[in-house]
């Protein structure tokens, strides 16, 4: 009984107001979830607004001031409409697929440190956990496509399976290069390593933290990661999974109302997760770009949020300005360009670290 009580204590916490509040796990999780969902609502709007601005349109501007409440109106509409389940579909799997997509996307955020020590679970293998969950994301798409029992969804899901498995390889190798420099799989360690060592320390100006971040020494890997994350999340220009000119809407064709919303939600949250990963791996997470007073006054999670938003802006711009790839070109770029580049980079980085003795030596374990 004691252990169950202590587990309950851990989960619910002791809500004492005042200093030294021990907030329980469930409250923290709820807070993160609500913040993330509201952020996603505005990110969805931002995506449409950026796209519109590039095409010299206004974008959504009717609901609320500047259309700020558009996503919430969409949410209401999705939730209130009737969910149509095709007669020939596999009903259990049909409903399960969007749930899998949304759950996995949300689950990845459990280990993301939005500020120093703010991660829900500061686990030793955080980066592997995120990689594992993002590699499971393909199941939502495959199951959805197959359970629809329809041609286009099935073709779309086959495409996505091949695409996501291919680009995971290069993402994995990019992560390995960063891990070689850090020597730890812990996400907080990865950020701390970018704060405590790097180019700024070498040139004797340790205040210029932004020179420390891995985007500079590992710039090719940053580019590979950025493009691979577009492909991994099925974003344009690699959205062949739902390419409407060929596959109607891909695996989502048969989906409507709330299940469709869950797919969209999962997709956008996993895009944000990829942005968060880029922020952690290459942009120094919650550290301020310059380690001097006006910048250090701003709390870490604001910096994290700003970097995340910048990464998302880049992804949204890619959607707006790059035409869609052809499928064989997509596969070619994944296997024949990114894979060799990242493999060679892993070898070069390993050699450099071994010969010079650079790399981080302050790990917790």
């Amino acid at each position: 009984m004691d252990s169950i009580n202590s587990a309950l204590d851990y989960l619910l916490g002791i809500p004492i107001l005042g200093l030294g509040v021990q907030v329980g796990f469930i409250y923290k999780a709820l807070l993160l979830l609500v913040a993330l969902l509201i952020f996603t609502a505005f990110i969805l709007l931002a995506d449409r607004k950026i796209w519109a601005a590039v095409q010299i349109r206004r974008g959504p501007n009717v609901v609320g001031p500047f259309g700020l409440l558009q996503s919430f109106a969409d949410l209401l509409k999705f939730a209130l409409k009737e969910a149509v389940i095709p007669a020939g579909s596999d009903k259990v799997l049909f409903i399960l697929a969007p749930l899998i997509t949304a759950t996995l996307a949300l689950g990845g955020w459990a280990v993301v440190p939005v500020n120093d020590g703010w991660a829900m679970a500061d686990i030793n293998v955080g980066i592997l956990y995120i990689l594992g969950l993002s590699s499971l994301g393909v199941y939502g798409v495959i199951i959805g496509g197959w359970a629809s029992n329809s041609k286009y969804p099935f073709l779309g899901s086959l495409r996505s399976a091949a695409q996501m498995v291919s680009y995971e390889v290069s993402i994995g190798l990019v992560i390995i290069t960063v891990l070689l420099c850090v020597g730890s799989l812990n996400l907080n360690d990865i950020i701390r390593a970018q704060y405590e060592m790097g180019l700024a320390h070498m040139i004797g100006l340790p205040q210029l933290t932004f020179l420390n971040w891995f985007w500079l020494p590992l710039f090719p890997m940053f580019v590979v990661f950025y493009i691979s994350s577009l492909a991994e999340t099925n974003r344009p220009p690699f959205d062949l999974v739902e390419g409407e000119s060929e596959l109607v809407a891909g695996f989502m064709t048969e989906y409507s109302s709330t299940p469709y919303m869950l797919f969209m939600l999962g997709e956008y949250i996993s895009i944000l997760l990829m942005c968060a990963m880029a922020t952690i791996l290459f942009l120094g997470g919650w550290t301020a770009p310059i380690d001097l007073p006006p910048f250090t006054w701003i709390p870490g999670f604001i910096w994290f949020f700003l970097k995340l938003s910048m990464m998302f802006f880049m992804i949204a711009m890619a959607k707006a300005i790059v035409p869609r790839y052809r499928y064989d070109q997509l596969m070619r770029i994944g296997w024949k360009v990114f894979l060799p580049i990242s493999l060679i980079c892993v070898i070069i980085v390993a050699f450099v670290l071994q010969l010079t003795g650079w790399g981080w030596h302050g790990g917790t374990a």
Binding site: S3, L128, S135, I142, L158, A161, E168, R332
Partner: protein, 202 residues
């Protein structure tokens, strides 16, 4: 009952139930789904045993890649599974024999701990204190077992090349695209601007 023990029973029960469903379910795609669920619960058991690196590698490699390809193949197969199933009784004896051998081996391993309890706590390579198991695994693989590890890698590489050689067919007379050549083309090399006088043509 402690919390880890509770989760141990949950993971094991679901793993065994889903393993049974892999064999029992009528739809092959459902069978693969249950197989994935079984993998997942095995990863959970690894996690409970404190082997978080192995647990996540199991998920990334088996669930995230191998099982996806598995699902891929099963979905595309056009096999009448009812006819396959009719021969099940025919193969049952072989399955039972394999199952019994496996069970005996497991009993042997578990039995050795009963016979000599002191063996239970000792491992061949004890993990030193304050080392997470990712680092411990890496240290062991790249020092003590480096040649075996590299050898295993070489075997896998050979197998991969073999699979590619067996399936790759170069058809003659097929027009292929060369992306580098296409990108390197310049208008000056391929286009010619000609002033055509009216009424004359080229």
């Amino acid at each position: 009952m402690t919390l880890p023990l509770f989760f141990f029973y949950v993971f094991s029960a679901v793993a065994i139930a889903s393993a049974a469903m892999v064999v029992a379910s009528r739809n092959p795609v459902h069978a693969v789904m249950f197989l994935i669920l079984a993998f997942f619960n095995a990863a959970g058991l690894f996690m409970l045993a404190g082997a978080e690196f192995l647990a996540l590698i199991l998920i990334v490699v088996y669930v995230g890649a191998v099982a996806v390809l598995f699902l891929f193949v099963v979905m595309m197969l056009d096999v009448d599974f009812a006819s396959l199933r009719s021969g099940m009784l025919q193969y049952a004896p072989i399955g039972v024999v394999v199952g019994i051998v496996l069970l005996l081996e497991l009993l042997l391993v578990a039995g050795s701990f009963v016979v000599s309890p002191e063996a239970a706590g000792s491992s061949a390579l004890p993990i030193s204190e304050g080392m997470d198991n990712t680092r411990a695994l890496g240290t062991v693989l790249y020092t003590r077992y480096v040649f075996l590890f590299q050898g295993a890698g070489a075997v896998l590489l050979v197998a991969m090349i073999g699979a590619i050689v067996l399936t790759l067919r170069h058809k003659p007379n097929v027009k292929r695209q060369d992306a580098i050549k296409q990108v390197a083309r310049r208008p000056s090399e391929t286009m010619q601007v000609v002033k055509v006088k009216s009424g004359q043509g080229l």
